[in-house]
């Protein structure tokens, strides 16, 4: 192995960051990382969770030290400073991914002020080597070939691009920093597993299609049509790159002293076209109907319900649908000539879709709804559930006739009876006990129900952890639980909000 380094890493719970953390640890380096705590989780717990995808043995993960704090406000105490001072390399991958500026000043607050404060801190502590994780899109709105050392830049298309460009300039101006700037393209999930921890950026398109597909019915030929028109020719190229490849490149560039003062585009050699992307998505869902109607700048009138939902969900991504620039990779090819290629192709797109589907597109990783007097089971069963069920996939279950009981123990718990006829919830009523005449009944407690409805646990996980018991027809109860899970994913339960949260109903 190369010399063991001690790396100070930011952003280690982000998508790229967790892969960098994994790769540095596997290479045998020590890592100190700065992580902000959440209400429910300490910084260390967040790192453990972020790293869990890698299934690393303990002897490797013991080489991580976690500092608690958040950029740009991080105020290290004496111990923090001593730990950072032991590091000989900073990899700054923490970033806000907001495209539009919010009332807290993001993304500038994290991306610019955070970088500024950290640069000042590490220089005070005598660290010179700095790797800045930026984006290829600091180039702005251009369709020319972009050089890694580009001198002239076009207008940034959003606050995110602008903030990353300012951060780069700030780093380049530091005379006492030996900097390297790496610029990934549009980062997507793992090339081998499809894993991702976030569904921003291009994932908003994939996720929107996935949600719309659920509303489609099969036509007489047994296929499904998703009538979406794109204002593109289909030949537009998109610079998607898998996260594991990006992290591999960064972790290797970071350790090359000769990469100092250089910029690296981490972009694909062969970008995927819009046509290939859409073909992969259509194949995955076994649908047709998505069309490219040309790139003329005329307004498409009479947008249908599907298109309106898609447009709304992806409105901030508009500029990225147009032809991406070509990014040169001269430095990348020179410094890492043996780096594997990881072009995003049809198979990988389908792998990403597959993972997204199995992960519920991140919707189920919600936060706990804390209700001061305990979970409002009556509100859930009597208000939210019937309405959400009628708008969900349940209505497609024409053979679904059942009488179901829910028994929830704990404060604000109780008994409810639900009657389903041809997939329709015809009634949900409180009762004093569960009668023997039900087809099956679920028995659980308020805490478990709260965890399930907030998306922090699936019904299946709850069942296998014995936090749900089933009385009656177990097989059917397990099947229905899968549909309940879909329902919660598509229409997240928001306690205190009377209307079911959902996207617009697209098909009548």
């Amino acid at each position: 192995m190369e010399t063991r380094r001690h790396i100070f890493l930011t952003g280690s719970t982000g998508l790229i960051g967790r892969y960098l953390l994994r790769d540095f640890l596997i290479q045998g380096h020590r890592v100190t990382t700065l992580v902000r705590p959440h209400e429910q989780e300490s910084s260390r717990e967040r790192v453990e969770k972020a790293l869990s995808f890698a299934r690393l043995p303990r002897e490797i993960t013991e080489n991580v030290r976690v500092l608690q704090g958040q950029l740009p406000d991080f105020q290290p105490d004496a111990i923090d400073r001593r730990l950072i001072k032991e590091c000989d390399l900073v990899v700054h991958s923490a970033a806000s991914l907001r495209f539009d500026k919010d009332s807290n000043g993001e993304p500038f607050r994290t991306n610019v002020e955070g970088t500024r404060n950290l640069v000042e801190l590490v220089q005070r502590l005598g660290i010179r080597r700095w790797i800045q994780v930026s984006t290829a899109y600091v180039c702005g709105d251009t369709q020319k070939t972009v050089s890694e050392d580009h001198a002239s830049l076009s207008n940034p298309r959003n606050s995110y691009e602008k903030s990353k460009r300012i951060a780069e300039e700030l780093v380049r101006k530091q005379p006492r920093l030996d900097w390297t700037i790496v610029r990934p393209g549009i980062v997507v999930g793992d090339s081998r597993t499809g894993y991702t921890s976030t569904y921003q950026g291009m994932y908003r398109c994939l996720k929107s299609v996935a949600l719309l597909v659920k509303r489609l019915k099969k036509n007489l030929a047994g296929t499904r049509q998703l009538p979406l028109r794109f204002h593109l020719s289909g030949n537009e190229l998109t610079n998607l790159v898998p996260v594991d490849w990006v992290a591999e490149a960064i972790s290797r560039i970071a350790l090359l002293a000769s990469s100092q003062g250089k910029h690296f585009h981490l972009t694909p050699r062969n970008p995927i076209s819009a046509k290939a992307l859409v073909a992969a998505v259509q194949e995955f869902f076994a649908i047709s109907g998505i069309e490219f109607v040309g790139s003329e700048k005329t307004e498409l009138e009479n947008r249908n319900a599907f298109e309106r939902i898609f447009d709304r969900e992806t409105s901030l991504l508009g500029p990225y649908f147009n032809d991406d620039p070509q990014f040169d990779r001269i430095h990348l090819d020179e410094f890492l000539p043996k780096l594997r290629e990881a072009d995003v192709n049809s198979a990988l797109i389908q792998r990403l879709m597959k993972f997204g589907e199995s992960d519920g597109w991140g919707i189920r990783r919600g936060h706990r709804h804390i209700q001061p007097n305990g979970f409002d089971c009556a509100g859930f069963f009597e208000s939210y559930f019937p309405e959400a069920a009628r708008r969900s996939e349940l209505v497609r279950m024409r053979d679904l006739n059942a009488r179901i009981g829910f028994e929830v123990r704990g404060q604000r718990g109780g008994f409810w009876l639900c009657q389903l006829v041809a997939g329709d919830v015809v009634s949900v009523e409180p009762t004093s006990c569960i009668p023997n005449s039900v087809d099956f009944h679920y028995r659980t407690n308020c805490a478990t129900l709260e965890e399930i409805t907030s998306g922090r646990m699936t019904t299946r996980e709850a069942f296998f952890e014995k936090r749900i018991e089933i009385v009656g027809n177990i097989e059917r109860a397990l099947l229905l639980a899968l549909l309940f899970e879909d329902l919660l994913r598509e229409y997240p339960y928001r306690p205190g909000v009377k209307k079911v949260a959902s996207t617009e109903k697209a098909c009548a």
């Binding site: 690393l56 597993t193 993972f355 069942f463 097989e475 099947l479 899968l482």
Partner: protein
């Protein structure tokens, strides 16, 4: 920081008939490999993936017996390629008739995993199947020369045909809970009596069809059986 493990778990991609299947190999690097075991999980609509409590526990506990195990996700499950099995259409079908279209074809996934395992270590010694997986595993293993034993958890005798076991003379261990909704005990005993020797039937209270909380108990039972076989 994370669980201490002496075992190695390796994510693997296996070429399957409908695309790549994801699997997990579990083994100990510090021991002499005695046996290779393929584990086939239950129906995907009823908790069948490679993280199922029984599948995962067996995989992890059997490492102590100097064993290499492969567990996998069927096509369309988890990150395995293929049309997703857990879909509203399939749930509706399963609701109506307790099966989905062409589910017997999932045996091809078992075959693909076995082929891959053989290319890696040269043989498959034992196959373990759970529930629907017991049906697939036993049908597949019946004519495999290298497989010397099959272990079947909660075999779905009320739903599927296990008559092939009448002629299979490989060692067999059958485990079931006496209150299993999918494995009527009297029917199991009746069928078991017709299956070829050598065979063992282990029935006790083990949480219906799911073995929740009994995972260690069943893995000990399997290890004892395999110890005999080794």
């Amino acid at each position: 920081m994370l669980e201490t493990v002496s075992k190695t778990q390796e994510n693997v991609n296996i070429p399957g008939p409908k695309g790549t299947l994801e699997g997990i190999l579990t083994y100990s690097e510090n021991s002499t490999l005695k046996q290779t075991i393929l584990i086939v999980g239950p129906h995907p609509l009823l908790g069948g993936d490679f993280n199922n409590n029984v599948v995962r526990e067996l995989s992890q506990q059997l490492v102590r017996s100097d064993t290499l195990t492969l567990r996998f996700n069927f096509r369309g499950v988890g990150c395995s390629e293929g049309t997703p099995i857990v879909s509203t259409d399939n749930i509706a079908k399963f609701w109506a008739r307790s099966e989905i279209d062409d589910e017997a074809a999932l045996q091809d996934d078992v075959e693909a995993c076995a082929r891959w395992l053989r290319s890696l270590v040269g043989k498959v010694d034992v196959v373990i199947g759970y529930s629907f997986g017991a049906w697939l595993a036993s049908r597949w293993a019946a004519d495999q020369k290298d497989v010397n034993a099959m272990i079947l958890f909660a075999p779905t005798i009320a739903q599927h045909d296990y008559s092939h076991l009448k002629r299979v003379t490989k060692r067999k261990l059958i485990l079931a809970s006496h209150d299993d909704f999918a494995v009527p005990l009297s029917q199991l005993k009746q069928q078991f009596s017709q299956w070829a020797e050598p065979k063992e039937l282990h029935v006790e209270e083990m949480d219906n069809h799911f073995f929740r909380g009994c995972e260690r108990q069943i893995s000990n039972c399997v290890r004892t059986f395999l110890g005999d076989a080794a």
